[in-house]
């Protein structure tokens, strides 16, 4: 045989170049894409996700410090039922299971709080990290955790939980790496017990962060102090409080809204810039980090939905809960409904789990990955669920500093005090330092530069406390009274706990640390004088003073983020600018009307398509519109559409679109004084009052607020603006959707958008139809669809507790898993799953068992 021919040199060179290039893109991240070799590798790369789509039918694992074997049975809904012999072991198992199903979520939410996202995703996360460091949540959580005694539940359970998380991380093979880590070419960090405290600090940021003082400053600069007070009242003009006030219908406390007085626009712009900066960061933190895919790209319907949204739509979110006493239920058992609303994400913030420790714990609920005990759930005797109280628990103090450019001291009661300096080092990928920042703090909290002055913040969320104690106590309680005693130690973020027990008792209580301010400055919505210690908070509301009701005579009680206490009952300041009471009004209306409530009725109430707001506005639009129909044929058509509308926000309804557009126009035109029209102001809207304030203004048909500033020669009155709003809305909707008809279906404008934590469209679910809901309905839908019912639950406290629930997502964080988003369809339809609640492992029928995990102690 003759020797083979020599390969042409050019071919060899070309092959060498291609080989080098292929190896390069195989091993290195190029142009933001992950290394292709590790990604496409069918053994350990992304394809391995297919092999990990579901847990194996039988598996074993070892966890350090486990005192006895733990049996984990995963049911046919992907819910783990953890049977352990001690609560700490149950926490270890919970950590292991969370890590197995939601490891990336654990990582990203921790980094978001710690301000270490840049270490994972690079410089693009620098603004987020900078903001997180400035907020100081991780620092406060760490200090709070370090102060805990060794036997504090938060320390014991968080340490045990960390054992479980780290056992999983340590035993991981490359094939187990979650999808997102592969995309980011990153590896999970080991879990520290203090990260559980980070999680609750982050919940505080989501639920109890307010910048009211800055917003008020911007408002006052434009329209004056008195008008600002009226537009953003500390007491809702419609009283339907959480704590029943003995009335059987909402009370309308209409006040006269003073006319606007021009103020200092420069102050408004400074304050507004600060608000906008924070709002941008807050929304970015919501999605943690966006790899370049904006919300609009995610949802083709978003522009339409946003176009028909009201300026106040960001407030069209909220949570609901209610409980019904046995005397008003069909079966004679207490009923509870939970419906917390949050950002809708994939994976969901919630993870269902059932933890059983004989004679100690038997709790089912939704956990948050990062913590072992469910904050919402039920046991064999009690059920509980929360809504956000929204109390003002953050105040801002204007500080006097020694050197405004480089402050080192601040003045307090005439003496200079040193500022605490917290040096924050932000690192990038690879660990190199990309920024070093020094955050200054007074005894109240971190200082920030705002409007040319130094302002410090006092915030209950950064106080630090044993976050596990109240939830563990709730999980172990046997009655509503016991649950109340257990949650006495719950401090922040303040929550409205609705509870019911098998003894037939129902209750609600707004629980949290509510500050008592000095008598001469008892408002928390204004900047405070930081130079004197007498400006500081004086004490806390006692638990007896909390808004609450235990077995109220009316036989039911509900919360929907409305003002908790009637100011006629307790006039003390608790907060301001409360969300509109429409949901609370509608829920109470339904509960008043039904004296034989069933679990299914509770479920249907959660997606009720009516709004208590509509009957208050709709007749006014119709009446004002009818006065102009003779001159305007399109206005006549608009009026007829509204007259035919049944007030329902269902996906096929064709009247809601026009009503919402009209209300949007009305809000925009009425509150045009709140737009900074100066050149520097760039026509930015400083703030928009809630709809009930617009309704309040309806009582003053000649108020100067109705006047349209763009028509200086004409003085408009209320009905002029109502009519013009309806006409403009009709024109707008026709331009977008065509003539009135099926194209006006509400479902075309409002969808749910369930965003992946990184905002990646392919991992998100856009255009999810929702069965019912509008801005004022029990299921409010915001314009971008990214907020909504994050968990719906109904519990019947009968001889045997029965429960139903659903959340928009799935138990698995693996996008290839059939459990990644398997519940979206049912959630969208407004149905609930029946929840398995076995007492013993063997009580979970084999047909309802999808896998088993046996955990044992590691040497």
């Amino acid at each position: 045989m003759a020797a083979a021919r020599r390969t042409a040199p050019a071919t060899v060179v070309l092959a060498a170049l291609v080989l080098a290039g292929t190896m390069w893109v195989g091993g290195r991240s190029v142009a933001g894409a992950p290394p292709l070799g590790g990604l496409l590798d069918p053994v350990n790369g992304v394809w391995a996700l297919a092999r990990r789509a579901l847990p194996p039918a039988r598996a074993e694992a070892a966890i350090p410090h486990l005192s006895a074997p733990v049996d984990v049975r995963v049911d046919d809904r992907g819910v783990p039922h953890i049977f352990a012999s001690s609560i700490a072991d149950a926490a270890r198992a919970m950590g292991y299971v969370h890590a197995r199903d939601r490891l990336f979520q654990l990582e990203i939410q921790t980094r978001a709080v710690a301000g270490t996202l840049s270490e994972m995703v690079g410089d693009r996360a620098l603004p987020l990290d900078r903001e997180a460091r400035e907020q100081g949540l991780a620092d406060a959580a760490t200090r709070g955790f370090d102060r805990l005694p060794p036997d504090a539940p938060a320390r014991v359970l968080a340490t045990a939980y960390a054992d479980g998380v780290n056992a999983y991380i340590d035993a991981m093979t490359p094939a187990d790496l979650p999808f997102e880590f592969r995309l980011l070419d990153a590896r999970p960090q080991r879990w520290e017990p203090k990260y559980t405290a980070y999680l609750f600090a982050r919940m505080g940021l989501t639920l109890a962060y307010t910048d009211g003082e800055l917003r008020r400053a911007a408002m006052e600069a434009l329209v004056g102090h008195d008008a600002t007070d009226a537009l953003f009242p500390r007491n809702s003009p419609i009283q339907e409080p959480i704590q029943p006030n003995g009335q059987h219908a909402p009370r309308f406390d209409w006040q006269v809204i003073p006319p606007p007085k021009p103020g200092d626009g420069a102050t408004a712009r400074t304050a507004l810039a600060e608000i906008e900066r924070r709002a941008t960061l807050a929304s970015a933190l919501d999605g943690v980090v966006d790899l370049g895919a904006g919300r609009r790209a995610l949802d083709p319907a978003a522009p339409l939905g946003a176009a028909l949204a009201r300026p106040t739509d960001d407030a069209a979110v909220g949570s609901n809960n209610w409980v019904v006493a046995p005397k008003r239920t069909a079966a004679g058992h207490a009923l509870l409904a939970g419906d917390p609303h949050l950002s809708l994400t994939l994976p969901s913030i919630w993870y269902e789990a059932h933890l059983v420790v004989p004679d100690s714990l038997d709790v089912y609920g939704v956990t948050i990955p990062g913590a072992p005990i469910p904050p919402i759930g039920f046991n064999r005797n009690v059920a509980w669920t929360e809504t956000n109280t929204g109390a003002d628990v953050a105040d801002y103090f204007v500080e006097t500093v020694d050197d405004p450019a480089h402050p080192r001291q601040y003045k307090l009661d005439g003496a200079w005090k040193p500022l605490r300096q917290r040096v924050e080092v932000i690192r990038g990928r690879g660990g190199h330092v990309i920024e070093t920042d020094t955050v200054l703090e007074t005894h109240r909290g971190p200082m920030l530069r705002s409007g040319g002055q130094w302002v410090s913040r006092r915030w209950t969320v950064t106080d630090g406390y044993d976050v596990m104690k109240p939830f563990l106590g709730a999980a172990r309680s046997a009655s509503v009274r016991e649950l109340w005693a257990a949650t006495d130690s719950f401090l922040a973020p303040a929550q409205n706990f609705a509870t019911a027990d098998r003894g037939g008792h129902i209750a609600i209580r707004s629980t949290g640390r509510f500050p008592i301010r000095p008598k001469d400055a008892d408002r928390g919505d204004e900047l405070r004088d930081g130079s004197r210690s007498s400006s500081d908070w004086q004490a806390w509301w006692t638990t007896a003073e909390y808004p609450q009701a235990y077995d109220p005579p009316q036989g039911y009680v509900a919360s929907a983020n409305q003002q908790p206490k009637d100011p006629r009952v307790d006039p003390r300041y608790l907060g301001w600018d409360w969300p509109s009471p429409w949901r609370a009004m509608r829920i109470n209306e339904m509960l008043r009307a039904d004296s034989a409530v069933t679990p299914d009725r509770m479920r249907r109430m959660q997606t009720d398509p009516l709004s208590a707001e509509t009957p208050l506005f709709l007749p006014r639009f119709i009446a004002a519109g009818e006065a102009g129909t003779a001159q305007d044929a399109s206005l006549a058509t608009a009026v007829s559409v509204l007259k035919e509308w049944d007030g329902r926000y269902t996906s096929d309804n064709t009247g809601a679109v026009l009503y919402e557009a009209a209300l949007d126009e009305l809000t925009t035109r009425t509150w045009d004084e709140l737009v900074d029209t100066s050149a520097a102001g760039r026509n930015r809207r400083v703030a928009t009052p809630e709809a009930e304030v617009t309704l309040e203004l309806m009582q003053q048909p000649d108020s100067p607020w109705w006047d349209d500033r763009s028509t200086p020669d004409v003085h408009e009155r209320r009905d002029d603006i109502l009519r013009a709003s309806l006409a403009a809305a009709f024109t707008r909707v026709v331009a977008r959707l065509g003539v009135p008809g099926p194209a006006w279906a509400w479902g075309r404008t409002r969808h749910a958008l369930v965003r992946h934590l990184l905002g990646i469209p392919a991992l998100s679910r856009a255009n999810v139809l929702v069965s019912g809901g509008g801005p004022g309905a029990v299921t409010p839908s915001a314009g971008d669809g990214n907020h909504g019912a994050s968990w719906r639950m109904v519990v019947e406290l009968g001889d045997e507790v029965r429960a139903w629930g659903i959340y928009p997502g799935g138990q698995s964080g693996n996008p290839a898993s059939p459990r990644y988003a398997d519940r979206l369809g049912k959630w969208s339809a407004g149905t609930l799953d029946s929840l398995h609640f076995p007492r013993r492992a063997q009580d979970l029928a084999p047909a309802n068992t999808s896998s088993r995990l046996s955990l044992r102690g590691a040497p």
Binding site: V12, A15, A16, W47, I760
Partner: protein, 129 residues
Amino acid sequence: MTRQLALRTLVVTLAFIAASLLAWWALPVAAAMFGALTRDDRSGAVVAGTAGMLSWAVLLAWDAWAGPVGQVAATLGGVLQIKAVAVYVLTLAFPGLLAVCAAIVARAVARATMPARAPAAAATATPPA
């Protein structure tokens, strides 16, 4: 010759599977070794490339047996903004390209630096014409 070529491709495929179980970069290393060993054989690069693709195809089939690879392809395709089928093509083309190029380069280097094989040895590596 065809049967021997097929057999050789099969053996190399198995070797590449074993290498891939170690790490993805072990495949071009194995292909380079194969290229050097078959420096007197013009078909070595083609065999290496074919075996490269086949080895990952087999491993992919194993993944498909164990779980929903279609969902993985759709998800990754969505993230990279390419069609799912392109993810499969990319996954098979990547090892093929690595193996072909590694074999060509290794063969050239081997021919330049190592003595030609004895005819008898070559005969065992190359089927008779």
